[in-house]
């Protein structure tokens, strides 16, 4: 095998016996390769001297002691804490128990519901209490409404009396002021009629009744003013 200087690293990397022989043969005539090969071999030779050896009479007792401590701790742990398998078993048992508890709770709930339903169905229904009339729930009761309507009628009668007093003057107004009073009274009467028509549809509407009252009051004031104008 022909060897060249550039093959040095390749041969040293491959470490093939034939190539190494060729390298050694080449190194005999090549100073550079000889030096490199010498260093290479010296590294291996020096490395064998790197093997360390010293007496350590205390080392095994130390290791022994450490092992004993470790084993004691293991025993302690095993006694105090359950093993991995035990933990797994306990956790599985715990899951089972938890499921069992859930199932038991669900069953108990079902039993309670069924028994409640049974009790409700078996118990005779209490005598029906008459429902309060819807009018009682309202602000105006039937009776109050009757009182309001009678007061309204009385009020209306008094206004009618006032109206009779000024009726002739309104029917034949002699001044523009009387004409405007007549128009005003006509407007109030029209508004009163509208309001009464609305109240007829909902007799219990307090708001409409208040509106009607204010219109009556307005008519009363207007008539009183007319009376004073005489």
């Amino acid at each position: 095998m022909k060897f060249e200087c550039k093959d040095l690293d390749y041969v040293l990397r491959r470490q093939e016996p034939e190539s190494l022989k060729a390298l050694e043969a080449h190194a005999e005539n090549c100073a550079a390769c000889r030096e490199q090969l010498r260093l290479w071999n010296e590294i291996s030779a020096a490395a064998t001297c790197m093997k360390k050896s010293w007496d350590t009479p205390q080392l095994w007792p130390r290791i022994h002691q450490a092992l004993v401590s470790e084993m004691q701790e293991d025993t302690f742990r095993r006694e105090r804490f359950p093993s991995k398998h035990k933990v797994q078993f306990l956790s599985q048992l715990e899951v089972l128990l938890a499921n069992w508890r859930t199932a038991a709770a669900a069953l108990a709930l079902l039993l309670i519901s069924l028994s409640s339903a049974w009790v409700l169905l078996r118990t005779p229904a209490p005598p029906s209490v008459p429902k309060p009339p819807s009018s009682e729930k309202r602000l105006l009761t039937e009776q109050t409404l009757r009182e309001v309507e009678s007061a309204e009628d009385a009020y209306l009668r008094s206004i009618e009396k006032l109206s009779k007093l000024v009726q002739s003057r309104i029917d034949q107004p002699t001044s523009p002021l009387l004409v405007s009073y007549r128009e005003k009274l006509t407007l109030i009467d029209a508004a009163i009629d509208d309001c009464r028509a609305n109240i007829a549809q909902n007799r219990f509407n307090t708001h409409l009744r208040m509106e009607l009252l204010s219109m009556y009051q307005e008519k009363q004031r207007t008539l009183q003013e007319l009376v004073k104008e005489e």
Binding site: L39, I43, M50, S53, L59, I63, D74
Partner: protein, 205 residues
């Protein structure tokens, strides 16, 4: 299975030089260790302790740390012997544990001291005896400049005599990678040694 108390009683410390436990095969030794036999652990120490100390010292550069590493490795062996499946040799398995312990220790020490120095231990002295090689000290210094994995391959192959197949198991790398890393280590060391020798010659003149 022996209980802890039985084990301690039956195998006193005084019998450690000649354990009565008939442990011939590696499998039996592992089984005995698994059962918590301290005698089995002692046999393991007798078989692998010296090599472990050497590897640890070369990696950590400090006797005290090396001994701590060996002790810690045995504790780890005890803790994980239950997971050992005999797919690899005990020697390579223990060596893998030791290397990991050494790396951990070195990282802790570097964090503590902020000095990565991994040269020869002053405690070790670096003294050259009759069997020593003149390049050893320079080699040890140069080794500290290598990448940890490359250094480990060199130490395991050249110093401790492991085969590439064993190194592959220990470092969990392909065998070819182990060969490549060894070449890279030696090439770099050769370069460093060459440089060092040239500087030495220049200083001498």
């Amino acid at each position: 299975m022996l209980s802890l108390q039985q084990t301690i009683k039956e195998i006193p410390l005084s019998t450690r030089k000649n354990p009565d436990f008939p442990l011939n095969a590696e499998r039996d030794l592992v089984e005995a260790c698994r059962s918590g036999s301290l005698a089995a652990f002692e046999q393991l120490y007798e078989a692998h302790g010296a090599r472990m100390k050497s590897i640890a010292l070369n990696l950590l550069g400090n006797i005290s740390d090396a001994e701590d590493a060996v002790q810690e490795s045995f504790l780890k062996v005890y803790r994980s012997i239950g997971n050992f499946r005999s797919q690899s040799a005990v020697s390579t398995w223990i060596c893998r544990i030791l290397l990991n312990v050494c790396y951990d220790l070195r990282r802790k020490r570097q964090r503590r001291q902020q000095t990565p120095g991994l040269g020869p231990d002053p405690e070790w002295g670096g003294s050259a005896d009759a069997a020593d090689h003149p390049l050893r000290l320079t080699l040890e210094k140069s080794l500290s400049r290598l990448h940890p994995r490359t250094r480990a391959v060199f130490l395991l192959f050249e110093v401790e005599g492991f085969k590439h197949s064993e190194i592959a198991e220990i470092l969990e790398i392909p065998e070819g990678t182990s060969k490549s890393l060894l070449f890279e280590a030696k090439q770099e060391l050769r370069r460093l040694l060459f440089k060092s020798q040239r500087e030495g010659r220049l200083n001498a003149t």
